[in-house]
Symmetry: C2
Subunit: 199 residues, 2 copies
């Protein structure tokens, strides 16, 4: 809308750049900013700048951190022989919430997707391979989403890692806990059947 004041229009455009936020949502957010107190708006702007200046990628696992090396990579109690490779930082959080995984992580910051022009060189694959050189790591777990891009990335990495004599595994496919057989799609059901376990 041309009749918005320029600073308002600019702010709407900025908010509309976020994934999942359309023009309408961005407009609501922009007006919310206008109705904030001066301190609140200042605090929001500051939080954005702080996140950007104070956080950087951990040189080991590539997750975002405020410290020189992230708390997980620096953790004395973590099992350094296993690396769980994930697409994005939020996936690390998901694993940490299970409280059952005590190994290391590696964040790729994306998945290989030729359709979107994302190749291995845009991901932190080089950094992952560098971590496998000193013989500490005995297993690399591929923990990407069960999608076409996730599968392709896992396959690609496995081809690079297996020749190094390191065990390469991936997450199990199967029924989600609490789900209903009746509403499970065929592929998942087939995978659950193929991967059945001894009781």
């Amino acid at each position: 809308m041309a009749n918005n004041a320029a600073p308002l229009e600019k702010l709407i455009e900025e908010f509309a750049k976020f994934p999942g936020i359309g023009r309408k949502g961005a407009t609501r957010m922009a007006y919310q900013v206008l109705s904030m107190s001066d301190e609140d708006a200042q605090s929001l702007a500051q939080a954005i700048q702080d996140a950007h200046t104070r956080l950087h990628r951990c040189p080991v696992c590539q997750n975002f951190t405020e410290q020189e090396i992230c708390p997980i990579c620096a953790g004395a109690k973590r099992d350094k022989s296993v690396i769980c490779v994930v697409e994005k930082p939020r996936d690390v959080q998901a694993f940490e919430r299970t409280r059952e995984y005590h190994g290391m992580y590696h964040v790729l910051h994306g998945l290989i997707s030729p359709m979107d022009g994302v190749g291995a060189e845009q991901l932190s694959v080089k950094e992952l391979l560098a971590r496998l050189k000193d013989g500490t790591v005995q297993e690399v777990i591929m923990a990407m989403n069960p999608t076409v891009e996730g599968e392709a990335t896992a396959m690609y990495l496995a081809k690079l890692i297996k020749p190094l004599g390191i065990r390469t595994t991936r997450l199990a496919y199967g029924l989600p806990v609490g789900s209903s057989l009746e509403y499970t799609d065929e592929t998942t059901l087939y995978r659950a059947l193929a991967g059945r376990d001894e009781l």
Copy 2:
């Protein structure tokens, strides 16, 4: 999650304050900020500050503006004898989009809602009444949402304005254009019937 770095956690909290944005959406947005280039993050923070410092309420209609008096209030071609009273700035935009209304506006910045502790003194009612003193205004249109709060606010304002000898109207209730009779709720249908027009 306690295991988020402090600046990230702070940013998530800031985003989660927006209406309609939950913890998950805020987390997505925060990570989006982290993956922005430095200039983009700077530009977003700047837009927030600019909107706040460069926009203020028009002293006449109370809408947000960059100028001393907003373009609508300053417009030579606008009909100064009619004021359309709305809840929020976005409602002004909605009317402007019709291109059929050429009068003035007054933005209340809220509706009377005793449940939420919002009384007339928190709204720009005083400023509205001040505009009615010099005899220019001949009609005040109540254009609040057709809700309990909207109705209550319209009634309250009408009580204050009518004694001044100024015509007080409100938007018509009826069927939304393009809607289906079959799926229209009873109240709307009743209102449409009661307000039927000569063909």
